[in-house]
């Protein structure tokens, strides 16, 4: 089963894994933030990622915009979508109980997926730009340019979000809120307003994450479940609400995926990653809740 590989192929896989890991970090961040800070299990997160991919496609096809510009546009667009979702749904229903929230957000997933199929059909789409099939070669290691750009976008956003949470008073208030909601409220922190901000930011990361994924992988309205599983895996391993731990977990998953694809036949890759999700949940004992102690 295990295949023999050259050193250069391994290094290639390592580099690809790290780049992919940055993108996985980005698509998982929102899930980690909403779960860690608001206690909301946003199962519709992956459909927002998928919408990000289609935003890039539409902007490319209609306006000829490069995905890099689409990533910038996605920030306010998806922030607004997140704000609307939080105000119209999450704040009313989802926080009454986690089960109710889960069902409501599953409904959101079905609606978005259905609408996407109506709009774009189930055909697989590819973002094709001038640098799609180009790569940089360094000491025999080829790095695909789209993957490099996607990883750079992800890294910038992850660093910006980390800086926001660590260096601004709003960020510190969000961290306070994630640690003790009642204490934050009675101290003078408007936790409703901050929840709106957190959900907006989480949705923005999902949208930009969708743009970056579309630069690397073909996509259709139904393949987002894979990204949901990936994101949950990153959250389970990295813990809730902690950007730095999410980054480490994202890089680990990226590396495991690319190294598995080099060391094992292709069909084993997903099996290995999903197996890792099961093992991580078992080791954690309490599943996602077990990750909470490391929040922010």
């Amino acid at each position: 089963m295990l295949t023999t590989v050259s050193l250069s192929l391994l290094v290639q896989a390592l580099v690809n894994g790290l780049l992919l890991g940055l993108v996985y970090t980005l698509i998982s961040l929102g899930l980690s933030l909403t779960l860690g800070i608001m206690g909301v299990v946003n199962v519709a997160h992956s459909t927002l990622i998928m919408l990000g991919s289609y935003l890039a496609l539409e902007l490319l096809q209609r306006l000829g915009l490069d995905p890099i510009i689409s990533a910038v546009i996605a920030v306010p667009v998806f922030f607004l979508i997140g704000v609307l979702l939080e105000r119209l749904l999450i704040s009313r229903v989802a926080r009454t109980s986690q089960t109710t929230g889960l069902l409501v957000l599953f409904g959101v997933l079905v609606v978005i997926e259905g609408a996407a199929i109506l709009r774009w059909t189930t055909d697989t789409q590819v973002l094709s730009v001038s640098y799609t099939n180009t790569s940089l070669t360094l000491d025999g290691i080829a790095i695909a340019v789209p993957r490099l750009i996607a990883a750079a976008i992800a890294l910038v956003l992850v660093l910006l979000l980390d800086t926001f949470l660590r260096s601004t008073l709003y960020g510190k208030a969000i961290r306070a809120m994630s640690q003790n909601l009642d204490a934050a409220r009675i101290s003078g922190i408007d936790t409703d307003r901050l929840s709106l901000l957190v959900f907006g930011l989480a949705t923005a990361t999902a949208g930009v994450g969708g743009v970056t994924l579309a630069m690397i992988f073909p996509f259709d309205p139904q393949d987002h479940y894979r990204w949901l599983a990936w994101a949950f895996l990153v959250v389970v391993i990295g813990g809730l609400g902690s950007i730095r731990n999410t980054l480490l977990a994202g890089l680990l998953i990226g590396l495991i995926e690319t190294l598995s694809s080099v060391l094992f036949p292709f069909q084993y890759v997903y099996f290995i990653v999903y197996l890792l999700l099961v093992v991580a949940l078992l080791v954690r004992g309490q599943g996602l809740a077990g990750s909470q102690s490391r929040a922010l």
């Binding site: 008073l169 510190k172 961290r175 934050a184 922190i189 922010l296």
Partner: protein
């Protein structure tokens, strides 16, 4: 003079349990009200209702003459009602200074002014040397001091304190008692203090209210309440006999002595 707080016929139920039943009282500016009663008598529920964490089923709360029914906890905090908890709820991964600053996130206070206010209050409670430490590294008693200082950041007119003296080092307790008195006398802050440490509470409060099963069963001076037969019955389970409520307070100490004895490090 208009009272800081006016509570009229406040009631709150949780299913079939009556947590508060027609509770009424008023609190004058710059006074300390002690709230005592056996476990489950409704003291913490009353605090949670006063600061907006719970909504009353009926009755009215007026803070500085203004009804508070539709105000949320953070709005009440910014208007001047602060709160501490039985187990100090500090923000563990934030530093001591950051704990002090986050309550002002929505307040229109200049950053330099907020920093200065935080520094002064940390000095006030003897925590100035721990400003850069994560709050998790403070001892339990120091976390209570930090929570008290944080409650003063919004310059409150009323501070609600739930068991501030429970389980803390005697010298930290004495410091806390002294600082509460100072805040009351020099800043005209009013306090409602729930405590099972009755001697300490009696040393602070001019008026005591005793609750049992969600109702006020006695109110008056410490002496009057401690001798009230219903109060004795509530604590001992029967009326009559010798009053068993100890009323001698502990003695205060200087703010620095505990930390000097502790070697300048959080224990």
């Amino acid at each position: 003079m208009e009272p800081v707080l006016q509570v009229d016929s406040l009631s709150k139920r949780f299913g079939s349990i009556v947590a508060l039943e027609r509770v009424s009282f008023a609190l004058e500016a710059g006074t300390i009200l002690g709230l005592i009663g056996p476990n489950g008598s409704g003291k913490t529920t009353l605090l949670n209702t006063l600061n907006g964490l719970y909504r009353p089923d009926s009755g009215e709360i007026r803070y500085l003459g203004r009804p508070t029914r539709n105000l949320r906890p953070h709005q009440l905090a910014l208007l001047g009602i602060s709160r501490t908890f039985q187990n100090a709820r500090v923000f563990h991964t934030l530093t001591v200074t950051q704990n002090m600053l986050v309550p002002l996130v929505h307040a229109r206070v200049h950053s330099a002014e907020a920093q200065e206010r935080a520094r002064q209050l940390l000095t006030f409670v003897g925590l100035e040397r721990y400003q850069a430490l994560p709050a998790s590294e403070l001892s339990g008693g120091q976390q209570k001091l930090l929570e008290f200082a944080r409650a003063l950041m919004t310059e409150p007119r009323l501070v609600l304190m739930d068991e501030p003296f429970g389980g803390v080092h005697p010298e930290i307790k004495a410091l806390l008692l002294e600082r509460i008195r100072e805040a009351q006398q020099e800043r005209q802050v009013s306090f409602i203090i729930v405590s099972h440490e009755i001697p300490d509470l009696l040393s602070l409060a001019r008026t005591i209210i005793c609750m049992s099963y969600g109702r006020i069963i006695a109110r008056g001076s410490p002496q009057e309440v401690s001798e009230h037969p219903d109060v004795i019955a509530a604590y001992l389970g029967h009326a009559g006999g010798q009053a068993q409520i100890q009323t001698s307070p502990s003695s205060p100490v200087s703010s620095s002595s505990y930390f000097e004895q502790a070697g300048g490090h959080p224990s």
